[in-house]
Amino acid sequence: MASVWLAVLALLLAGPVPSVLARARWPQRVPRAAIVLWQAIALAAVLAAVGSALAAPEELLRALGPEDRRGTPMVVAVVVAATVAGLIVLRLLGVLALLAVRTRRRRARHRDMVDLLDRAERSAALGGFGARTVLRVLDGAVPFAYCVPGRAPRVVVTDGALDTLDDDELRAVLAHEQAHLDARHDLVREGFVALHQAFPVLVRSRQARDAVGLLLEMLADDAGRARCSDAAMAGALEAFVAAGDAEVAARLERVRAHRCGGPALATGTYLVAAAVVVVPTVAVVIPWLSQALPAAGFLR
């Protein structure tokens, strides 16, 4: 039954669970714990799918009579199981590798261009803000700020952003970008982008990617709030907000409401995250192994 249980678990973690979690509001109170929970769900879903495929032939073997064990059905079952498990793992690793190469190439080129375009006199004038990362200022009236992660990171702001933000708001924005860089939020995002590219249909990987993206922004917003104030962070978000952007509206509302979860909610979320990975292993895989290994002639 292990194979069936793992398959059910994989389907639950790939479909209904992300759907429900993406709609829930409480994760926004504890963004860091919620991101860990999303990661645990993704990991458990992949492990359950692979485990289900690998457990299937052995269970078939035990279900069949002794005379059928060396027959064609058994060979077919083993080949199918290995193929399914292999495809899942190779697909994910392949997409991840390709994405990593393309991301780093695009980033390196972007960094080169930002360095060339920098308005050195304006970025030098921002020295008083104590940024720990190389700052670049671009021409342009559109208020905009972003960071280029990596080993030689950059924080980029436009002229428009400098004109729009007051000093406190700018400090909050810089703290937000620094939080992204310090905690390597790009790597977290990269994992979920890869998951979505590898399994774009059937699986609710888009919800996962978008929900985690928003939670990462909220986590960085919290860094800005801690460094400056809720008012400064809200002011910065307001200055950048484009009409009708639901994500920014959610971030703004959250900062304005001073919303933030207590340690109990965070601890609970971490415990659930751990359980999502550990419980299936203990409840399904270990009993299965204790049956399968003796049956296969190990651990006699």
Binding site: R102, L117, V142, V201, E247
Partner: protein, 139 residues
């Protein structure tokens, strides 16, 4: 002086110049104590990056920026905005992910209308959507 800063200074001269410049002209405009060969090296690096065009003029080469400052800035902003549709490679992290449609349109117009030679946009990476078939890096 750092190579990066030198590249930036050279680009500033090329953007400010009315037409293509020779290495000597760039060297003279920089107003710094630099070897001629250093300027030549920097121009070579910039050409390799695709931001500088090299054209033969008799015996000498002349150098010009491949796109205007405004075009390059607009293409960077579009890249940062993830304007390549569904492709979110997580290469960059924007403070606010999507600027409004008017702003994005203005950036695209800046890219299109600037009166200089065609801009060389940042490499766009189409995302494999439903079928998930990748076409390979940099294709």
């Amino acid at each position: 002086m750092a190579l990066g800063e030198l590249e930036r200074a050279v680009m500033a001269q090329l953007w400010a110049a009315p037409g293509p410049l020779t290495v000597r002209e760039v060297h003279d405009r920089l107003e710094r104590e630099l070897a001629y060969t250093t300027v030549m090296t920097v121009l070579g690096r910039l050409a390799k990056k695709g931001v500088v065009r090299q054209e033969r003029d008799g015996k000498a080469y002349r150098y010009a920026a491949a796109s205007t400052r405004e075009q390059l800035a607009a293409s960077l902003m579009l890249d940062a905005l993830g304007d390549v549709g569904e492709d979110r490679t997580a290469a960059l992290v924007a403070f606010v992910d999507r600027v409004g449609p008017e702003e994005a349109a203005a950036l695209r117009a800046a890219l299109r209308d600037a009166p200089a030679p065609a801009a060389r946009p940042l490499p766009e990476v189409p995302e494999p959507r439903v079928d998930g078939e990748d076409t390979g890096p940099g294709s």
